[in-house]
Amino acid sequence: MTDIAAPPARTPSSPGPRAGGPLRNRLLGRNPIGSLFALPYMVFVAVIFAFPLGFACYIAFHDYFFTAPGVEVERPFVGLDNFADVLTDPQVLESFRNTAVFLVINVPLTAVGALVLASALNAGIRWAAAFRVAFYVPYLTASVSLVGVWMLLFSSGGLVNSVLGPLAPDPSWLVNSALAMPSIALYVTWKQLGFYILLYLAALQNIPSELHESAATDGATTLQRFRHVTIPGVRSATTLVLILAIITGANLFTEPYLLTNGGGPDGASTTPVLLIYQQGIQQQNPDTASAIGMLLVIAVGLLSLTANRLTRET
């Protein structure tokens, strides 16, 4: 209690310690009113995210079964048994492979497509406002209704195959083991692109125009300016885009559930989240479902970390 911290040097932007002492500062921060404003969101995060995640972790290490209130059953600790079960289940492994295929197509396509389109919009092309709306509408529209449109487009007798004629794949897109996941990746990229374009637009508008002007004065071509000014200038936005695309991609559920008839054909578009739904909700095996969930959290965490490292400024 006698260990008193030295007061910070006073600067115009640092008003110095206030009445109340360091203990209160340590507990509530230097702006307690700020903590008060943040409290509702902290409660929200704790109740909606942190507690379920912790509980899912608990379930994954136990032989767990949902029961009606008042029904007391033993739920013994089983260590890594549930993880061993899911890691030796070919269906689970296939679902992770399918997700990898999805991410390999979706994430680069999202980042590149969003940046190129955002740059075009930022350059002041004609009808920019109309394009901006057109790109954003799919993002706002419920996936369930858009899936119906894509089914009409990509079904055997759909518009796409009619246009392709003899070049149409057989079996058709959504029932073709090799094309089902890429079709879903393409759909999700198209649907989400509007959101990522907005992120890039905000980042592009933060790049000082002097940088582009200097580069142009030095004789840089449009492509060179894009490569040496624009791309480095939106690096932090790219990190965000990559991480968000990985997280949303790894949580894929609606599209394989509706577009490819529940992970079809023959499991070619099954995803971990679809299996979590089947095992945890439909089959009432929340323990193995939670184990899949934990593995997914770890995989997404590692991928996000990698994306962050790769795009970090050196």
């Binding site: 079964f65 949902f66 029961t67 009606a68 269906q91 054909p265 909700i281 089959q283 095996n285």
Partner: protein, 424 residues
């Protein structure tokens, strides 16, 4: 997993016994029926005709029982009724009665401790068996009735008479009772320009076998369920015949591998569909429909088919179980069943259905075929891990029969072995 489920079952049984003995006189040894009278809540399916029927029954009950009012509502929204009910059991918010219980889900809810064994009521077993006859035994779990077999929708082949005529098939007597005749007729239909002869949903949900493989398997075997005596039954000649039949349908493109993007029957994109009596009111105005029994390898007019029953269960969260039981009997009386038949066209599961409502079937001859079929139906087996077992079956079936990626022999032997492991 098995240990927990067994423990859950024991726990549920203990809870049930405790609940059953809760309001009893100690002198009677704690064997009294569940007690408690007062207001109750019930859930109905979201079928418009069923809701209208339910509201009528509730109104009639409430008029006679002012101190035991019943409130009815639709099952809360979810991707399926079963998910909404499972969540309600876990949260302790289940109603007293639900009028849309699928047999496949019952074993899981019994393990959860969510359902009341209706035999704990003094007249529970006798009421169910007198109303439904011997066939009700198939709806028992561990010797108890956790569901009252309520109504069935026997699955038959519905067909578009106009498309049949266009293809040169006799719409009044298509003569497609054997597999070979059925396949010939299907080829004739597709050759006539119909997109698909028959269009079962090729999606991956666990319940889809009930509308393609299973009705034909029941017909082929005379009513052998998918699992009997703790073992899968379909890895045999009958299972192989049914699998080969459907495999031919898909490999010859008589049915699409994709789900329909609209109602294929209404749009005329398919000439046939497997359906129950509900289809008469659904398609009656748009399509000139006829019905025939599902085919078998040898051909038979009197085949067994899938019942597609929906039943009624009482939930342990119900405080006024005595009222719930009385209302359950009131809503499944001969009078209420007659009103249900009139309103929905679905078949109450009671003995001598045709004889009980002769006027109705005389006035509605198309339903008479279904009434006759109700005497030859079988349901899904009441087994542990039921949903998991059907999901295993569906995935193996899809791989071999719909997409042709594995052989039908592998499908039958592999899935039979896995399912036996799950339910044994």
């Amino acid at each position: 997993m098995k240990f927990t489920k067994t423990a859950a079952l024991v726990g549920a049984a203990t809870l049930m016994l405790a609940a059953c003995s809760g309001g009893s006189d100690p002198a009677d040894g704690g064997n009294a029926a569940p007690a408690g009278t007062g207001p109750i809540e019930i859930w109905l399916s979201n079928n418009e005709a069923e809701i209208a029927w339910g509201e009528g029954v509730v109104e009639a009950w409430n008029a006679e029982n002012p101190d035991q009012q019943v409130t009815a509502q639709e099952i809360p929204a979810g991707s399926s009724s079963e998910e909404a009910i499972t969540a309600a059991i876990t949260a302790g918010t289940a109603p007293c009665l639900v009028y849309n219980i699928a047999t496949a889900a019952v074993s899981g809810w019994v393990q959860q401790g969510g359902l009341v064994d209706l035999t704990t009521f003094d007249d529970g077993a006798s009421y169910i068996e007198e109303r439904g006859g011997d066939s009700t035994a198939a709806y028992q779990n561990d010797g108890g009735y956790y569901q009252l077999p309520w109504k069935s929708n026997p699955v038959m082949v519905m067909y578009n008479k106009d498309l049949f005529e266009q293809a040169g098939l006799d719409p009044e007597n298509p003569g497609m009772s054997t597999y070979s005749d059925f396949l010939d007729g299907a080829r004739q239909l597709v050759d006539s320009g119909v997109q698909s002869a028959i269009w079962p949903s090729p999606t991956n949900e666990f319940y889809q076998p009930w509308f393609d493989f299973y009705p034909l398997y029941l017909a082929e075997t005379g009513g052998t369920q998918l699992v009997e005596d703790g073992a899968a039954t379909f890895d045999n000649e009958a299972g192989a015949a049914v699998a080969e039949f459907w495999s031919t349908i898909y490999s010859e493109e008589l049915a699409p591998q994709e789900a329909a993007t609209d109602d294929a029957m209404v749009s005329g994109n398919t000439a046939m569909q497997l359906a129950g009596p509900w289809a008469i009111t659904s398609y009656g105005e748009d399509v000139n429909v006829g019905f025939m029994p599902v085919p078998t390898s040898g051909g038979s007019e009197e085949v067994v088919t899938f019942a597609d029953s929906k039943n009624i269960s009482m939930f342990t969260a119900c405080e006024n179980q005595a009222t719930a039981w009385e209302f359950l009997k009131f809503s499944t009386s001969a009078e209420a069943d007659g009103q249900l038949l009139e309103a929905t066209g679905q078949m109450p599961m009671r003995v001598d259905l045709a004889g009980t409502y002769p006027d109705y079937f005389e006035a509605n001859p198309m339903y008479a075929a279904f009434a006759s079929q109700t005497e030859r139906v079988a349901d899904v087996p009441s087994i542990p891990n039921s949903v998991e077992a059907w999901q295993v079956f569906r995935e193996a079936y899809s791989s071999a029969v719909i997409f042709g990626n594995t052989s039908t022999e592998e499908f039958l032997s592999g899935s039979a072995e896995e399912i036996t492991g799950l339910v044994g």
